[in-house]
Subunit: 262 residues, 2 copies
């Protein structure tokens, strides 16, 4: 099982992800928020790469079952219903809703995965769900850290440490033999160095400091709780839904046996 890891979505072309098994990580906060929304009963998340796309798609959907969520600069986009704090995506707000979702890096990474063979969304809050799925899949994986497009190299410590935690957990899984790229190896090492206190690491990260500065301290504490939101968000067509147990079984369901000449 080869694992590669990419530090930023910025320079990734969607064709590079074609037919890959992709894990999208945007700890602060898109991955955490998508998991939380689905856990709280949202029908589906529709990730879009731009505000323009969000507006275009909104036009064709009915307002009472659809919400628009996302951020620019960490803050709610004008005309949207929700920002990007996972705490906003509570059951009363999201149950049964389709959410058109637009964020700077996270939804972009999810949208760029549209030609992937599979795509799941990972954060600390649903980490074990992701690693169990990957161990069962036992196939080559690209971990796509959404990163931070406001810094030149796009690097976000928190996304890479989360990716490293996935690598680490997979290395402990039975019957899984890993072949790590340099970047996956580096991520695993960074998890060992910074993963002892996830909340401390998040608070000290560039984007964590930024979010605290605009009043989202609570999101950091929420995003740091490992396995607190046990769902597996997965791309299904062009929307993200909770991956159902039966989908994880590789064998196809037995269909009706066709009779010859029928």
């Amino acid at each position: 099982m080869k694992i590669d890891l990419t530090f930023s979505v910025t320079n990734i072309d969607e064709l590079q992800l074609r037919e890959k098994n992709v894990v999208v990580i945007d700890v602060l906060r898109s991955s955490t928020t998508v998991a939380t929304a689905l856990y709280n009963g949202a029908r589906e998340i529709i990730p879009v790469p731009s505000i323009e796309s969000a507006v275009k798609i909104s036009g064709s959907l009915f307002g009472d079952v659809t919400l628009r969520g996302g951020e620019r600069g960490g803050k709610m986009i004008q005309g949207f219903n929700l920002g990007n704090s996972p705490l906003e995506y509570n059951e009363a707000t999201v149950r049964g809703k389709s959410i058109i979702y637009c964020t700077t890096n996270g939804s972009l990474a999810m949208a760029k995965s549209r030609y992937a063979r599979s795509m799941v969304v990972a954060a600390f809050v649903n980490l074990s769900m992701v690693t169990e799925f990957l161990a069962q899949l036992n196939d080559d994986v690209v971990i796509l850290c959404a990163g931070n497009s406001t810094v030149a190299n796009g690097f976000s410590l928190e996304d890479v440490v989360c990716g490293g935690m996935i690598v680490r957990k997979l290395s402990e899984a039975k019957n899984v033999s890993l072949d790590l790229s340099d970047s996956a190896l580096a991520a695993q090492s960074l998890y060992k160095s910074f993963g002892r206190s996830v909340v401390k690491m998040l608070k000290n990260s560039t984007h964590g400091k930024y979010l605290a500065g605009i009043g989202y301290d609570n999101d950091i504490a929420f995003s740091a709780k490992v396995d607190s939101v046990p769902v597996l968000p997965a791309l299904n067509g062009n929307v993200i839904k909770i991956r159902k147990e039966e989908q994880r079984v590789a064998e196809p369901e037995p269909g009706p046996v066709a009779k010859p000449n029928e």
Copy 2:
């Protein structure tokens, strides 16, 4: 002193480096080779971004004082005089020569630094020269890891570990107070994890394995020797030369005092 670190030259635009103090790292092997060539008496290195540029520039220079060196896929370019092994750049071969230099990532990073305020070339073999210079400079720095353009994310473990060693040594310098980006912090951590045995880290890196596979094991051992080639290659106009001590002193040399009305 802010330190930022970039993992790969691939997606860097030269204008992003404008007016920055840049440290170019390509451990395997461009940085090591440039340091070695200058140490062994080469007059200057002329880094070019492409074979096309190398050919164009060669045309206007005299053959007996000029050599063309570099690689594609780790091997000598057809029609060139030298490949990219530091062992080829011995005194008998390079003394007094101008070397037009073209490699996949390293010379590209050096050439992209042409609008930088300053650019020095760093490898393990000249590490202390670089950190002493930076500590004296005591100004914001961008560490540009050349990386590996043959992998999707451009990441090379060896370049980042070398960058992390520079960060680490600077953090121990007197009168220097560091402000690290997430990526610089990550590099420092990777140095702590992988820097104990540089040669082992190089051997296990993706590019190290590749070079060993095409017969360049000796280059790996050579590139791993910390401070074995004590020179400071620096951009000077559009060529790289050894940075002279007097250049490092900030004050200008006193010139003749002009008489009024002269």
